[in-house]
Structures are given as C-alpha cells and as structure tokens.
Symmetry: D2
Subunit: 158 residues, 4 copies
C-alpha cells in the first residue's frame, strides 16, 4: 500500500514574493507538514509555494503543485507531482477544494482569493501574518503551531 | 451594426443574500448601467446579481450571466445571455476578466474572491458597502456615482 | 425589453485554419443564424469563429465570443461581447454548454473536443464536412439547411 | 528524496462503463505502470479509472485522481491523491496536460474529448480498442505493450 494513502492533505497558500523571513516560515511549515506525515498541496510556483515544497521535500514529504500554466516547466524544483491545469488563476480554487485544511502565509491578492474560497467552503484555515477578514481564520504565531492546528481541524472535519 | 458593439461591459458582483436595501441599490446600479449604454455582466444567479440584471433590463440594457452551473436553468429571469460555465465558483474569475470595470455591492466571501482577482489584475473597481481590503477600491455612496466612476475608469483604462 | 431576450443561442465550432471555401460556408452560417434571429456563440478567435461572427454581424445579429485568453485583445473584430475566460482550451466546454444547438464546420482537434462534449451532453449537433464519429451528428450540405436543422432541434429540446 | 520524484506520469483515460474484459485490461495497465515505476494520473471516478488505479495500487504505485467534483467523496477507493477540481468535465484537459503520455482504453465521448486534447497538444498517446480518429494514436494489443510504448514516447519527448 502506498505510503501516501490516507495521508492528510494540507494546502499552503501565500504570496510569490515573500520577504526572507516569511520564506523561512513557509519552509518550516513545509517541514512540519512532512514531519507529521501530511501531503503538501500548493500552487507550484515561487515564493511561499516554493519554500513550503522545499521544506516538505527535505523531510521526505510528498509535494503536489497545482499550476496555473499549460505545462509543467514553471513548477518549482521541489514539486513531486505537478498538475498543469492551464486555467490560470482559476486554479486557486482547486488548491482550496483539494486540501483538507489550509495555511495562509503573508498577504497577496491571490492569497486573498484563496482565503475567500476557503471561507466560503468552510474549510479549516490557519493564518500566519495574513489577511484579517474573518474570525473563521485561526491565527498562529509559529509554523509548528499552524501545522498542528491545521491537522487537528482537518481530522475533526473528516 | 448591433447596438451592443463597442459598449462598455460593467461587472456587478455581490452577495446572493442582500437585505432589501442593498437589493434596491443593486437594482438602481443596473438601471444606471443601462441608462449610460453599458452592458451588464454578472454571475447570473440571485440576490445582487438578479437585482442588477432586473434594473438593467428595465432600462433596455443587455444582461450577461456567467453561471457556475452546467446548464442555464438556474439563471435569474432577467438574464438575456446565460453562459453556462459548469466550472462552479471558479467562474468568478471569468466575470472579473470579462468586465472592463467592476462594482462590488455588499459583503460575501464569493464577492471577496472576485475583489481579490480584480485587485490582482488591476481592474477598475468601485465598492458600495463592501470589503475594505485595499485603497485600490474606490468607494461610492450612491448607485449613480458608482456607475459614473466605473465607466470613467473603464474608459481611461482602454 | 432587449431584443436578445429569449433568442435561441446557436454555437458555431470549427477550425481556426479553414480553407477559403469553408470560411465562406461559416460566414453564410453566421448570416443565416442572424436572419433567423438567433444569437451566435463561438470561440471568439480566427478562422471559422471569425467567419461566422462576421456573417452574423452583417445581418445585425449579436455575437458572443468565449475566448481562451485572459483578456479580450485577441477577439476577432466581429465579436460584440467577448468573454475572457483565461482557462485556455478548457473553454471549449463552455461554448457547448451555453449553446442550445451546435453547428460544427470542418475538422480540427479542438472541434473534435467540442463535438465530444456535445455528444456526451446530448446537445443538438449539426455537422458540415466535419468529424464522422457518431450518428447523433446530423449532416447538412448547405449553411441554410444546417441552421434550419439546428434551430429546429434546439426548439424541440426546450 | 521522495520516491515519486522524477517519476514519469502516465495518464489513463477511458469510459466509466467498461465491460468486464476492458476493466481487466485497465487493471493490468495500472499494474504495468506501477511495475515500471510510473505515477498514474486518471479521472478518479469509476470504470477504467478505477480499474487502472486499483492495478497501480496493487503494485505499490502512486495514484492521482483529477476529479470533476467539488469534493473528494466520489473518488474511487484506489486514489491516493484526489484533486477536487469542481470544474466538471472541463477537468478532462487537466488530465491530458498533466500526464507525460496517455493510454486510452475503450470508447466513450469523454474519452474522445481527452483524445482530442491530447492530439491537439501532440501528447504521446497509445490506444487500446479506442477511437480511430488519427494516425497519431499508436495502437497496442496488450497492456504491457501499451505501457511500454507510452513510457518510451514520454521519455523521448522530455
């Protein structure tokens, strides 16, 4: 039986242009997801998406990149399974639908669209220094806390 | 030559569950768009979408509904041209892409996703009692003011 | 009441690289749709899509272009209402879903994908020199015959 | 480094209502993909999709299901990573884009749409008892032959 079977899928959403500190936070979030045996789902491109995938791969986790592009050539090098949607930014909603819980890192308008969809679907959502648009978003100060909360919420929602 | 040719396309986005006051505001926004010879683009369903289409039709305007559904049966009765996308809420981005300027009315998470996409694409965006997430959103107090600003911005962006 | 209200929506699908003869056929199909008071829905780009839109506009018909692109700049000049989906070739299915009957002209792989979706949804489908993959496709020799059949089938399916 | 890294992604497309013989063929195709260390990408639902995923899982392969639905509840039980696109049949093109080569099994209109997209994108495509619409489709008599050809073509296309 493949090791990924029944693993919890955690989505990490965030800006493609984080500062160095947020990049490191995203990397640690990725590592924490892999340490807790989760599968990472992200947008597959740069910035927060790359950092989280890099961290997850370092700890042996599986990384899925839901790309906006028509082919997989723009996937960051830490994506194991690139999904080339070819539907542009509309792919944001696929990330949200496919993850069992989401962690938003930083502020960007793409991230805000993903947060909106997550709120609409009532998906478990944890935020680190992100948009403060709803009390449904649980805030976390540290990567380990964010991942712990996300996994707990995802398990409760099953 | 069809009368719609070269007409400005104004998108109206907003919650499917507005209160009576916001419904009337959306209706008047629709009327104003038609009075100024614009084409209305909306999500095709109920609430703000219905009110705006109703108002636009009253004044002889053309109404386009970009539906999330696989067929057109759920379009509100004031939609002239229903587009059945079948892609669910991912259709929100198509409304934003297809309009030359947008007017957001009220607060809803679907509306917030559309605002996010509009901000990301730097589309002209006017808000009436909506999410206050960026200074790029021009606020308007009255329907006529909102439509006037939206059309002006759309023409400048051409 | 807008003149487009309750008009039948006829989709015209076909290759972006028709020869001169097929281009003229598509143009005449567009004219016939407008003469019979239908609204034309097409993919908004060149070739058969352009020819059909050109013909429909000549006779005062309304033309809708469901574009694969993120903006409307690539729409052919005969499109009244460009819908910028930004979802690439996935937009083919939106053309099929939004039309009440379809006319396929010529052979192309994009056209074949649209025919496939139409067959799957059991949409009325008339073909002129197109893929012969199902007896559900009614063949027509002339533009007027194709449009007459398409409109008749669309009305019966209501 | 995760075992999936750099693995070839083979898409299996086919009807959701195969007869018993085609179901067994699809199962063997799945097993062959896993034996040759490929990742299976499919539509995530029943019939050929289920059979291929079942076979791949039996041999320890990773299985990705690109679902049309808004949530993952309809995924067949052999899918490791369900991607809930929520975009309906438009997801067919995502399967094609994400796979490096495709194997089509049997005839269905959904399958024909996927074949059309694969031909348009010039993706390597092997068919078993499927639509005969282009000489670009390599035919194969046996599952092992189909998978061998698909992997060879995918490697050549890199």
């Amino acid at each position: 039986m493949p090791s990924s079977l029944k693993k919890i899928r955690i989505g990490v959403i965030g800006t493609s242009e984080p500062d160095a500190r947020l990049y490191r936070i995203a990397e640690e979030v990725g590592r924490e997801i892999a340490r807790r045996d989760g599968v990472l789902i992200c947008g597959g491109l740069g910035g927060v998406m790359e950092a989280a995938a890099k961290g997850a791969q370092q700890k042996g986790g599986l990384t899925i990149g839901i790309l906006p592009t028509e082919d997989t050539s723009l996937a960051n090098p830490y994506i194991d399974i690139p999904i080339a949607t070819g539907i542009g930014e509309a792919r944001n909603i696929i990330i949200v639908r496919s993850a069992e819980a989401l962690i938003a890192i930083g502020k960007g308008f793409g991230t805000l669209s993903e947060i909106s969809f997550a709120l609409k679907m009532k998906k478990p959502l944890v935020g680190i220094e992100t948009w403060d648009v709803s009390s449904q978003i649980l805030s976390a100060d540290k990567p380990s806390e964010a991942v712990e909360k996300a996994i707990k919420l995802a398990e409760e929602a099953k």
